[in-house]
């Protein structure tokens, strides 16, 4: 199979981190990166919480938090302390073991996603050569945790929220994975480090339709607006985490933001060129790009109202999935049959195709009615 | 301008159709007997030329010796209104026929009158207390209610 060699341009001044850095033993590498990862996730989550609340506030023509620390920068710390000091209430009719286990099952996979995301050339916990497949597999485990939470609460609302969540996540796996496959075809490898290395032009230009589909599907997977009906707090109070309080609630809160950061990191790696960029150190570029993508997610949350569950499913199956298939088809043709069109001609063709497809499809597809005869 | 239909016109029409129904005709209101209420209301609602299809409100007043229930009907097409009244004598168990068959809007308002005044409406699909809780004793809006 002809793999396109996009690495012909080797303007790569970044040093490659050997896979057993810092010591000459794998275990030092593992220890170092484990600590870095956990610290990174927690710090980024705090930064994400701050960006969200402040950004949301400014976009709603009000100030966000600005009292705790300069510019409200210590607000996440205040939130964390508050949540830690709260009483841990477990409802009587709850299934105690499952109730306790659910936040753990929801949170652990999210941190594990970062094991294969490159911060620098080669700087990752494990350079798996099936990187992106590992990510897709792991991120689905978190949904099991959500369902456990909804079920064990003994509350009809929670169950409703958990069911909605399951339906949505399962539906949106398909467009997500298909848009990833488009990127994989263009890059020629499943390993995330390789994908970044082959991005001399960021894949957002080469796969614009893939980017849009991935963004929409990622927002749905992580329950963010406009698909946040799993925790629609004007309908079913808080969905699956209604009955949680104290540290367990903090875990779910963390899960939500950590997943958002994880998806932003994946989007950065797959579409925006990961750690590549001029003069700043590469890991700083990575963080900046991740936060920019996260900011776009906050932006859509502020702006758009929520879709209903059946509209959500219709959007996944009837809108995103066919578009993802067509995108894959076109990418495959470009990579296999017409490799000399890459890269710039393909960019122009793909952007044109994206506009045409999105406009035609949105005319044909209506987020319809949904009244059931009772 | 919503003209309050003068009671004389109504009374003459009603007197023809339902003899004995109209007990009294005030300045702009018509007093009918309790048992003729449904027929008169239906007549007012459905006859061409009258077409009082819009029920503004139902309320009840406690005049110690009787309860007076007041209905106001409006005709949107002709822009006219009429006030219909009935009386229930006796304080122990006053009751009237319900008009929920004719106007769905009477549902909640009749429940409110039952809740606060104690007038029962026969034929009401769901005559329960609406504002006060089940098991509340007494009818607060009556004049002889002491808490």
């Amino acid at each position: 199979m002809a793999i396109v060699d996009l690495t012909f341009n080797s303007r790569l001044p970044m040093q490659v981190v050997p896979p057993d850095w810092p010591g000459n033993n794998y275990w030092w590498h593992w220890l170092f990166f484990t600590v870095v990862l956990i610290a990174f996730v927690l710090m980024m989550v705090m930064g994400a919480i701050y960006i969200e609340r402040r950004g949301l506030g400014r976009m709603q023509s009000r100030l966000g938090p600005n009292r705790t620390g300069p510019f409200g920068l210590l607000q996440p710390v205040a939130d964390a302390v508050k949540v830690l000091l709260k009483e841990n209430i477990v409802p009587d009719s709850a299934d105690k073991v499952v109730h306790w286990l659910a936040p753990v099952v929801a949170f652990a996979p999210v941190v594990m996603i970062f094991a294969v995301v490159p911060f620098q050339n080669g700087a990752l916990l494990a350079d798996l050569n099936i990187g992106i497949l590992y990510i897709v597999a792991i991120s689905s485990v978190s949904t099991v945790g959500v369902f456990m939470a909804g079920w064990s609460s003994g509350n009809k609302y929670s169950l409703l929220g958990a069911m909605r969540n399951m339906a949505a996540v399962v539906s949106y796996e398909l467009p997500l994975v298909l848009s990833i496959v488009g990127v994989v075809l263009a890059a020629g490898s499943l390993s995330l480090n390789q994908i970044v290395l082959t991005q001399n032009i960021p894949f957002i230009l080469l796969q614009p339709l893939g980017f849009l589909i991935f963004f929409a599907a990622a927002c749905a997977e992580i329950n963010r607006s406009p698909f946040d009906l799993m925790e629609a707090d004007s309908e079913i109070v808080a969905g699956f985490h209604t009955e949680y309080s104290g540290m367990k609630f903090a875990m779910f809160y963390l899960v939500e933001y950590a997943e958002a950061i994880a998806m932003s990191a994946i989007i950065t790696t797959l579409f925006l060129g990961g750690w590549r960029g001029p003069w700043l150190p590469p890991w700083l570029w990575f963080i900046i790009k991740t936060l920019i993508v996260f900011f776009v997610m906050v932006w859509t949350r502020t702006t758009l109202p929520r879709v209903r569950i059946d509209q959500l499913m219709a959007l996944a199956w009837k809108f995103l999935l066919p578009l993802a298939l067509i995108n894959l088809f076109i990418t495959a043709i470009q990579v296999l049959v017409w490799p000399q069109a890459l890269p710039w001609l393909a960019v122009i063709i793909n952007i044109a195709v994206m506009f045409v497809l999105v406009i035609i499809w949105s005319r044909l597809f209506r987020l319809g009615w949904g009244r059931v005869e009772v | 301008m919503t003209v309050a239909l003068s009671s004389r016109e109504i009374v003459s029409q009603l007197g023809g159709k339902f003899p004995g129904a109209v007990a009294e005709a005030g300045k702009d209101s018509v007093l009918v007997k309790g048992d003729a209420l449904t027929q008169v209301a239906r007549y007012l609602k459905e006859t061409d030329g009258l077409k009082f299809e819009y029920l503004n409100y139902i309320t009840a007043v406690d005049y110690y010796s009787y309860f007076e229930v007041v209905y106001q009907l409006t005709s949107l097409d002709h822009n006219r209104s009429v006030i219909l009244k009935t009386r229930c004598y006796g304080r122990a168990n006053p009751s009237l026929p319900s008009l929920t068959g004719l106007w769905q809007g009477a549902d909640f308002q009749e429940r409110e009158i039952y809740d606060l005044m104690g007038i029962k409406f026969e034929g009401h699909p769901n005559l329960k207390r609406i504002f006060l809780w089940e098991g509340f004793e007494g009818y607060p809006l009556r004049k002889d209610w002491n808490r």
Binding site: L56, M59, Q60, S61, R62, K156, L160, S225, P226, D228, L229, A232, D233, S234, E235, I236, V237, T302, T303, L304, P305, R306, V307, R308, I309, D310, Q311, R366, L367, G368, G370, R371, V372, E373, V374 | M1, E53, Y54, L55, N56, Y57, T59, V61, V70, Q72, L76, W103, Q104, G105, D107, F108, Q109, E112, L116, I130, F131, L132, W133, P140, L141
Partner: protein, 373 residues
């Protein structure tokens, strides 16, 4: 299980309780909803959480002393309640209100209508899920109206401004220029707001065709206000049965065609624009003179009964007062706009999903103070 068995899988409906404390129900309103999966089969509303016995209290207060209680009825648009009550007592006692007071009343009532629709539209969009952003934008405009009202009477929510025979205090000198500036700004704001939301795909999908109220059902239930006008009933008390001096102003009555949530939303936005027209005309024509008729505070209307209604922002608000020539009303009944507007809720909601139930309920725009009194 075979395919046939799966296709006819028996599901059991279950009853869920929504409210009374809930982030989206407009006040303390409780519904027992029978659901089959996500589809709403039936709802049973439970009222009474805010019942304060205002009608009984009226019999113990003087006529003037009841005006603050009317504020608390529909607390989102308190001036309109004041106006309705004062009109009823004036009709009973045959009091003529001076011209300046009439104009002031009209300006204030229309400002109150704009403020009320700000909340109504904002709350409906909040229920649709647009996480407070449109709600806060509209609240910014309502704050400007609060500032104007604070200039008049010092209060921001429960004004107690109208009196029997006129208004309580005269307007300060800076009111009319501030009003003119406000009208300019809010005109631009409403058109900007429309631009954001009118063609928003998700809002159209959530609100168009959802919760249709057919015209015949609306008439049968006695529904009034923007809800009725969105269903196609061209009935506005300011034109059909003009009270105060509304017959001197030119304005249109926006109506909808389908009676769905989207039409109710659009009718309210259009009504805000029409209210601005009335305010402009009134503020140009306002004369000088006294602001209250010469009536005693402890007023004793002659014995009799009266019903007077106004077009409050939520619908037809009426007061039925029976007087026996004493200083307190014998009976004062408030025609509860919101309670009557809820009469058709069951038919509007059946067959839709839980998310639609919330948005339909939000689009009717009720205030529990008026429902429960």
């Amino acid at each position: 299980m075979t395919t046939e068995q799966l296709m006819t899988l028996k599901t059991e409906p279950f009853v869920v309780n929504i409210g009374p404390v809930h982030p989206s129900t407009h006040g303390v309103y409780r519904m027992r909803v029978t659901l089959d999966g996500e589809v709403v089969l039936d709802i049973e509303p439970v009222f009474g959480y805010l019942h304060r016995g205002i009608e009984k209290l009226a019999e113990e207060r003087t006529y003037t002393g009841f005006i603050p209680l009317t504020d608390r009825l529909d607390y989102m648009s308190a001036m309109s309640n004041n106006l309705g009550y004062c009109l009823a007592v004036e009709k009973l006692a045959g009091i003529k209100v001076p011209e300046r007071a009439e104009y002031l009343r009209v300006i204030i009532a229309e400002l109150q209508r704009i403020a009320n629709h700000c909340i109504a539209v904002g709350a409906m969009l909040n229920d649709a899920g647009a996480f407070f952003t449109p709600f806060l934008y509209l609240f910014r405009e309502r704050e400007k109206i609060y500032d104007l009202f604070e200039m008049l009477c010092g209060q921001r929510l429960t004004y107690n401004y109208m009196r029997i025979g006129g208004v309580g205090q005269d307007i300060p000198a800076e009111f009319l220029p501030a009003l003119a500036k406000f009208i300019q700004k809010i005109r631009r704001f409403i058109s900007e707001y429309e631009f954001f939301l009118k063609q928003n795909e998700i809002l159209l999908a959530r609100a168009k065709g959802v919760g249709v109220l057919p015209k015949e059902l609306a008439i049968n239930c006695g529904i009034s206000g923007p809800v009725a006008r969105a269903s196609g009933i061209k009935w506005d008390l300011r034109k059909a049965d003009p009270y105060s001096i509304y017959d001197r102003f030119e304005f249109d009555i926006p109506t909808g065609e389908n009676g769905d949530c989207y039409d109710r939303y659009r009718v309210r936005i259009e009504e805000m624009t029409q209210s601005l027209r009335i305010i402009e005309q009134a503020s140009k024509q306002i004369p000088g003179g006294p602001i209250r008729a010469d009536v005693p505070h402890l007023i004793r209307p002659p014995a009799g009964e009266v019903y007077a209604h106004i077009e409050a922002p939520k619908g037809e608000l009426g007061f039925y007062i029976v007087s026996d020539n004493s200083i307190a009303p014998y009976r004062c009944h408030v025609r509860p706009t919101s309670l009557i507007n809820l009469a058709a809720l069951r038919q509007m909601v059946r067959g839709w999903k839980v998310a639609d139930l919330i948005i339909i309920f939000g689009s009717i725009d009720i205030t529990m103070g008026e429902v429960d009194r």
